[in-house]
Amino acid sequence: MSSVTATSGSHVEIDPGHPPTSTGLSNEKVAMWSFLGSECLLFGALISTYLLFKGQDEPGQISPVDVFDIPYTSVSSFVLLMSSLTMVLALAGIQRGDHRRTRIWLLTTALLGASFVAGQAYEFTVFVREGMNLRVNLFSSSFFVLTGFHGAHVTIGVLMLLSLFSLSLKGKLPTSKAETVELVGLYWHFVDIVWIVIFTLVYLIP
């Protein structure tokens, strides 16, 4: 499928197995970027809701300063950020054709992500024990829903990573499918970046 005119006047060499596209990018990649663009608005609306209600509760009610444990959440944030690094290593592995390393780093990324989710679950239980739940006040409602949505996104990412890992174990993730790893990576990095924004706006800025 080489030397098909993708756009008039310019000849583009295209890998076998990839139908030529007008932009030269694969359909899947354009789709993932579009989807992530849409996700920006989802988190944008959730974060705006949190910020709108920030400090609007009656004085004396439970508030961020009462419950947040910044050192603890910093550690779990660090774990999540490191998972972006291991994700890059997994992609580099499959692009080189080193499937053993790909599997190691995919599994590491999934475990780091799962640790983050577990850390969040633990944090939630601590908060609930301190008297916070969905119903208490504006802060509790908007905090749990915002971070819960992010946690759900991380969980879906972990599921995708584990799926890639098991595909690779069965030998169904050849180097020609490196782009699948890249696309899951795009999603994963996006979820990480959103967490940086949430951690800064929700936890760090008083």
């Binding site: 499928m1 098909v4 005119t5 993708a6 756009t7 008039s8 197995g17 139908p19 030529p20 596209t21 007008s22 932009t23 990018l25 359909n27 354009v30 789709a31 579009s34 989807f35 663009g37 849409s38 996700e39 608005l41 989802l42 609306a45 959730l46 809701t49 709108l52 209600f53 609007q56 509760d57 009656e58 969905l134 119903r135 006040n137 504006l138 509790s140 409602s141 908007s142 829903v145 949505f149 799926s163």
Partner: protein, 690 residues
């Protein structure tokens, strides 16, 4: 729909391995026919037809609801409907017409036409496309199931809080969860069509050569992509408030009910352009064809469409002028509202200029298109009056607003969509609709429309509020309400004429590829098109490609028809005769390359006959999984609404399992190809079991 010729058993039979993977469902093949053929199809044309047909059924339901409302309001102090029933009906009328009629009808036309207009064989993700349709269908059915399960949504199509938060019963839960399901359908559709247009254009189809309908649909899909997540969040917050007693809209806990209005209209105003831009695109296709002139100011049309797309994000608060936003915000949104009328006005002048000094032929699609321009202009002008804040605060929640949005959504979108249906019907169905009945439909609808919604302007300015289920005598509203009710039945009659027209022309006729002498690529292929659309991917050399293939200019600048036998450019860059030469090897190998699937042919079976072209075009195979996946979503929602968590989890597992099964299923079933590929040998065994 893989290959066009049936499989030859002898090509599949030899040396099959004995083991066959166990599957619950044997995969449908390209040869699956009948109901299952439709339920498992991934062909964008069939999906487009299913979208449109389903949307038309919902149009009848929404219209029936409107008729009931008009009967109730036809005279003062009526008792035909109870207040509660009235609330359910106006809520469902609005929700249906917007989310279940105009959006899917536009989606259906875009689905059918975008690949044809850009010279592609299918959309980028055929199975995702099927999922979009099935999710739309189950979402609509889910919402309508509420009529039998304790009452339909009754808080208005905009669901303002704190009312929609506190209405007892599950009515508004159905609304919120139903819209979530429909949002998934819109989002997958938007991603799919965006990728298709960006990535799958035929060689030479640069962005500024794309037909204007493709452009306007693309802008609308981008608006959907960014608007849907906002209403998703709003609906989640509302549902969490209703199910788990969170405080997002709990005013007694200090919440701000304006949050809902901001989120809803930040979605809702782009939504207005999502509804109107495809119709604008249709009209911009129809007017040039029947004016025998190119579209006036193509570039300006494209950029004004893009400008509307951008500016549509900066006007939402004009829906909220009466809520007291403060003078600065009010002034800013007032100015932006008036400013967005500029690109819209540019479009109106360009349509008029397109017709100016053209050789107009008044076919049914042309009449609907002209009707669109006229009615949309009225609706646009009354829209500008809403931008004037002092006037708007008087008009808010009166029938004047109802008049305005029916002039843009019915007089605009629906007239434009009907223009498209009449214009492309020969392409969809291989037969023309009757012109006499079509014109009767148009004139009845035009008359009925103005009788119904024209008086709303007067009623509104006289102070008749929206959403009241009855009104006392002596307010001066009686006559105009009666006129409006009569008008609504004239509209209903026009729809019956349309249905009779379709029924009367149910037998296929010979309409040829190009019955209108049109300008765009979809008219270069047979009507209805074959599954693979283009036998050879076209090479595009100009805007209005087909026109330039058919016509050239003489020395006086007049259009003259080219010789019929003149050679056409193809992808191979070599000119071939319109009828492919026998035994010609070159173009058919190239032909498959820009297609959706792989095209290589290792068996060397083709013997060079012209019809053997078709055998090399491999289309993606049909699949059960889009339908199966979509069924999980309403199960989740029923479980959530009734707090039957086990049911919700079951639905979630169903959906997740289907997604996995889908992901592991190759886009093209191995058994659907005649290729002999050693790695796929065991799958071919299944084809033998068929």
């Amino acid at each position: 729909m893989a290959i066009v010729t049936p499989p030859r058993p002898e090509a599949l039979a030899p040396e099959q391995p004995l083991h066959t993977p166990i599957r619950f469902l044997r995969r449908p093949t390209g040869y699956t026919k009948g109901v299952w053929g439709w339920m498992t199809t991934v062909d964008h044309k069939k999906i487009g037809i299913m979208y449109s047909a389903t949307a038309f059924l919902f149009f009848l339901l929404g219209g029936l609801e409107a008729l009931l409302l008009r009967v109730q309001l036809g005279a003062p102090d009526q008792t035909f409907l109870r207040a509660d029933t009235y609330n359910q009906l106006f809520t469902m009328h609005g929700t249906t017409m917007i989310f279940l009629v105009i959006m899917p009808l536009s989606a259906g036309l875009a689905n059918y036409l975008l690949p044809l207009m850009i010279g592609a064989r299918d959309v980028a993700f055929p199975r995702l496309n099927a999922l979009g349709f099935w999710v739309f269908l189950v979402g609509g059915l889910f919402m309508y199931s509420s009529f039998f399960l304790g009452g339909a949504p009754n808080g208005g199509w905009f669901g303002y809080v704190p009312l929609s938060r506190s209405i007892p019963g599950h009515n508004m839960d159905y609304w919120a969860f139903g819209l979530q399901i429909l949002g998934i359908a819109s989002l997958t559709g938007a991603v799919n069509l965006i990728v298709t247009v960006i990535n799958m254009r035929a060689p030479g189809m640069s962005l500024m050569r794309m037909p204007i309908f493709v452009w306007m649909s693309l802008v609308a899909q981008f608006l959907l992509l960014f608007a849907i997540p906002i209403i998703t969040v709003a609906l989640f917050l509302l549902s969490f408030d209703r199910l788990f007693s969170t405080n997002f809209f709990n005013v007694s806990a200090g919440a701000d009910p304006l949050l809902w209005q901001h989120l809803f209209w930040l979605f809702g105003h782009p939504e207005v352009y999502i509804l109107i831009l495809p119709a604008m695109g249709i009209v911009s296709e129809v007017l040039p064809v029947f004016s025998r002139k190119p579209l006036f100011g193509y570039q300006v049309m494209v950029f004004s469409g893009i400008a509307i797309g951008f500016m549509g994000w900066g006007v939402w608060a004009h829906h909220m002028f009466a809520s007291g936003l403060g003078p600065v915000a009010t002034s800013a949104f007032s100015a932006s509202t008036m400013f967005i009328a500029v690109p819209t006005g540019v479009k109106i002048f360009n349509w008029i200029s397109t017709m100016w000094k053209g050789k107009l032929t008044f076919t049914t699609p042309m009449m609907f298109a002209i009707g669109f321009v006229a009615m949309f202009t009225i609706g646009g002008l009354s829209g500008v009056t809403h931008g004037v804040v002092p006037a708007d605060t008087q008009q808010t929640d009166t029938y004047y607003i109802v008049a305005h949005f029916h002039y843009v959504l019915f007089g605009g979108s629906m007239f434009g969509l009907f223009a498209g249906v009449y214009y492309w019907f020969p392409k969809f169905a291989g037969r023309l609709l009757d012109e006499k009945l079509g014109k009767l439909h148009f004139w009845l609808m035009f008359l009925g429309f103005n009788l119904t919604f024209g008086p709303f302007h007067i009623l509104g300015l006289q102070g008749m509020p929206r959403r009241i289920y009855t009104y006392p005598e002596g307010r001066g509203w009686d006559v105009w309400n009666l006129v409006s009710t009569i008008g609504s039945f004239v509209i209903a009659a026009s729809i019956l004429v349309f249905m009779f027209n379709v029924w009367k022309n149910r037998k296929p006729q010979e309409v040829g590829d190009d019955p209108w002498d049109a300008r765009t690529l979809e008219w270069t292929i047979p009507s209805p098109p074959p599954e693979y659309n283009f036998k050879e991917i076209p090479l595009v050399t100009s805007r209005d490609e087909l026109w330039h293939r058919k016509y050239t200019e003489d020395e006086h600048g007049r259009s003259v028809r080219r010789e019929v036998t003149e050679a056409q450019p193809t992808l191979a860059g070599t000119a071939v005769e319109p009828a492919p030469p026998e035994g010609h090897e070159g173009p058919d190998h190239v032909a498959g390359k820009a297609g959706t699937g792989d095209e290589h042919d290792g068996d060397g079976e083709h013997d060079g006959q012209a019809e053997e072209h078709e055998e090399h075009i491999h289309m993606p195979s049909p699949s059960y999984w889009p339908l199966v996946t979509s069924i999980g979503l309403p199960i989740i929602c029923y479980g959530m609404i009734y707090k039957a968590w086990l049911v919700a989890i079951l639905g979630g597992v169903w959906t997740l399992g289907s997604i996995y099964a889908w992901a592991l299923e190759p886009a093209t079933a191995p058994e659907d190809t005649p290729d002999h590929d050693p790695e796929r040998g065991h799958d071919e065994a299944e084809a033998v079991h068929a």
